[in-house]
């Protein structure tokens, strides 16, 4: 069996973060949880192959994080999750290069399909 591929979840709501990490683990990935963009950026070590992030976060938002990563030359694919329909933010996320925009509650199959696409990219 090949080594599990690492997916990071950036979500400030603890129970949802734990649930997303758990879903990824159940699906055969190594999930890691972070409570803020800053936490993720702080431990970024190049092993993570995909980031799943909430838009609304304390500190830099999920969308701002995409910009920061790209500015650092980091093109890890980013999947954005939104709490409510916010078309303007969704357009901005796509503009910044988000791979998928998903709405809460996220359907597992759709999320995992996105992850597969991210890892295949």
């Amino acid at each position: 069996m090949t080594a599990e591929r690492i997916i990071s979840v950036v979500e400030d709501d603890e129970s949802l973060r734990v649930a997303l990490v758990g879903l990824l683990r159940a699906s055969g990935y190594a999930g890691r949880g972070f409570a803020s963009s800053e936490d993720y950026l702080g431990v970024r070590d190049g092993t993570c192959e995909c980031v799943v992030t909430d838009i609304h976060l304390p500190g830099a938002s999920g969308i701002e994080m995409i910009g920061l990563l790209r500015a650092l030359g980091d093109d890890t694919p980013v999947i954005v999750i939104t709490a409510r329909p916010e078309p303007a933010l969704e357009r901005e996320a796509i503009g910044r290069g988000a791979l998928c925009i998903l709405r809460k509650p996220v359907e597992a199959k759709i999320l995992l399909d996105c992850v597969v696409r991210a890892l295949g990219a």
Partner: protein, 543 residues
């Protein structure tokens, strides 16, 4: 015994308090003592030789000629006369006339002793007037009056004291049978017409002669006990609101007064005054209902202002539940299902479902329609819960919250939802006041302190643009608002809730910079409330 000469006898007459006047058979005054001078104002020299009944008047119930005939035959007359003194003042005189004859039986002198009884007459007249006034009031006033013979209760109390009981109240509270017996020994001597109409009796006989027991519901026994205690402590009266029963057993709300005058106390008679306050009570209840409705409307309106936040707050655990469920299915779908993973996911699902239910519970409490209920509340717990309630709004507005809560606060007695409503309302106002500020100025501070007189003060401060100087008072007026979509009822309702709890709510400019500070002050629960109110402090209010 030495004989007195005339002058000596005259001196002795001057020592007597009664007026002593001697007149000859024709009515001319021959003796006039010092007391006569003092009583009637005429000096001895002025009086001598005058005809007594011309000088002073001798008006009596019978003509003077009749009295003189009586005197001639019986030798003695006693009675009351109306006279005038030297100043013309009318006076009532109690007089005693005795006739002295010479040896042959010819009338010689009439000796009169008399005293002024005007004062006594006045007292009697006043007493009659007082009695008349009392009867008049008793009958004519729109108050139901009861005259109660309380002497039986007095005997019971004396027996108690003889047995060494000192605390009548405690004894009666402990011994309900004693209390009921005391009621059956409180006999009704009289009632007025208003009593008949208020208590639904057709005739006086339905009430008079009986006892007060049948008019006293069990729940009003403490009022009877207080009346007995007031009597035992010789207080002049005792007033309270209570419920009594009519002859048909219907409850009526009344203002109840019991009073004793020193005279009636001697006779063991007390006077009960009963005023129907049913209309006032009904009006009060209607007003309280209206206030509760208004407060609820305001709560729902606040809820409306952050439905999006509430939806988000509920959506978060729901999203977690769905995700955990999906993960669980995946563990089960593996060739070797991992039960331990599913077990821990199930536990998380349960916890998240509870969290969602709690949020919904808080929202529902705010929207609920029910009469206000008084319980003991921990203000700090309410503050924490309020911040939790608004957590998402505070977060999405990037507002930094600092809460400094005193640990020595007394509990307060109040309606949980309404007090929380005030806190939520003040916090929402603060959030909205800072919505357009630069992020570093978006600071909300909440602090609770123990204030004067064992009360609790909660201050909520924002660093927004505040309100115009002098607008402090108008902030609490109905329909005063600085918000484009505001109704201007929030603060008005907060104040009426605070006042209904015996508290206050005040606004002022924040000290040390721009912004507004609102202070809610509520009295700490009294000992009675702390004992009587169902305690929430130790169970539900914990967040």
């Amino acid at each position: 015994m030495a004989r007195l000469d005339r002058a000596g006898a005259s001196e002795i007459l001057d020592l007597v308090h009664d007026a002593i006047i001697v007149r000859d058979a024709a009515g001319h005054i021959v003796q006039w003592n010092l007391a006569a001078e003092q009583h009637y104002g005429w000096s001895r020299s002025e009086a001598h030789g005058q005809r007594l009944c011309e000088l002073l008047g001798c008006t009596a119930a019978a003509p003077v000629s009749d009295i003189e005939n009586l005197l001639l035959s019986a030798g003695l007359w006693e009675g009351e006369l109306t006279r005038r003194d030297r100043n013309g003042r009318e006076m009532a005189v109690e007089a005693r006339w005795s006739l002295r004859r010479d040896r042959t039986g010819v009338p010689l002198h009439i000796v009169e002793t008399s005293r002024d009884i005007s004062h006594r007459r006045r007292t009697e007249a006043e007493a009659r007037l007082t009695e008349y006034r009392y009867r008049n009031l008793f009958q004519a006033m729109a108050v139901a009056f009861w005259e109660i013979d309380f002497s039986g209760v007095g005997n019971m109390l004396r027996a108690l004291f003889a047995d060494g009981v000192t605390d009548v109240r405690a004894h009666m509270l402990a011994d309900r049978q004693f209390t009921r017996t005391a009621m059956t020994r409180s006999r009704v001597r009289d009632v007025n017409d208003k009593t008949l109409s208020l208590f639904g009796a057709a005739t006086r006989e339905e009430i008079v002669g009986g006892t007060v027991a049948r008019f006293w519901p069990a729940e009003s026994e403490p009022v009877f006990i207080e009346a007995v205690v007031a009597s035992a402590e010789k207080r002049p009266h005792y007033i309270t609101e209570t419920k009594l029963l009519t002859v048909t057993g219907a409850e009526i709300d009344v203002l109840f007064t019991v009073s004793w005058s020193p005279e009636s106390r001697k006779e063991g008679v007390i006077l009960l005054g009963v005023i129907d306050i049913g209309d006032r009570k009904r009006a009060e209840e209607a007003m309280h209902g209206l206030q509760a409705d208004l407060a609820r409307a305001a709560r729902i309106s606040i809820l409306g202002e952050f439905t999006a936040s509430i939806a988000h707050e509920v959506n978060q655990p729901l999203a977690a539940i769905a995700t955990n469920g999906e993960a669980g299915l995946r563990w089960l779908d593996r060739p070797e299902p991992d039960i331990e993973e599913v077990r821990s996911l199930s536990a998380r699902i349960v916890a998240d479902a509870r969290r969602a239910a709690e949020i919904i519970g808080r929202v529902r409490a705010m929207a609920e329609q029910r009469p206000p209920q008084r319980t003991l509340l921990d203000v700090n717990a309410l503050i924490e819960e309020t911040l939790l309630f608004l957590r998402h709004d505070l977060k999405s507005h990037a507002i930094a919250v600092s809460a400094v809560l005193a640990t020595d606060l007394p509990p307060i007695a109040g309606d949980r939802t309404q007090i929380q409503q005030i806190l939520v309302n003040l916090a929402v106002n603060a959030i909205q006041a800072m919505a357009d500020l630069p992020v570093e100025r978006r600071r909300l501070s909440v602090h609770s302190v123990k204030a004067a007189g064992r009360s609790v003060a909660v201050t909520i401060e924002d660093e927004g643009n505040g309100f115009a100087a002098g607008a402090e008072a108008r902030l609490f007026d109905s329909f005063f608002t600085t918000k484009p979509s505001g109704m201007g009822m929030g603060l008005r309702i907060c104040r009426s809730i605070a006042e209904a709890h015996g508290g206050t709510i005040e606004a002022r400019a924040r000290s040390g910079g721009a912004g507004a500070a609102f202070t809610l002050t509520l009295p700490g629960a009294s000992w009675d409330e702390a004992v009587a109110a169902p305690g929430e402090v130790d169970d539900h209010t914990k967040v």
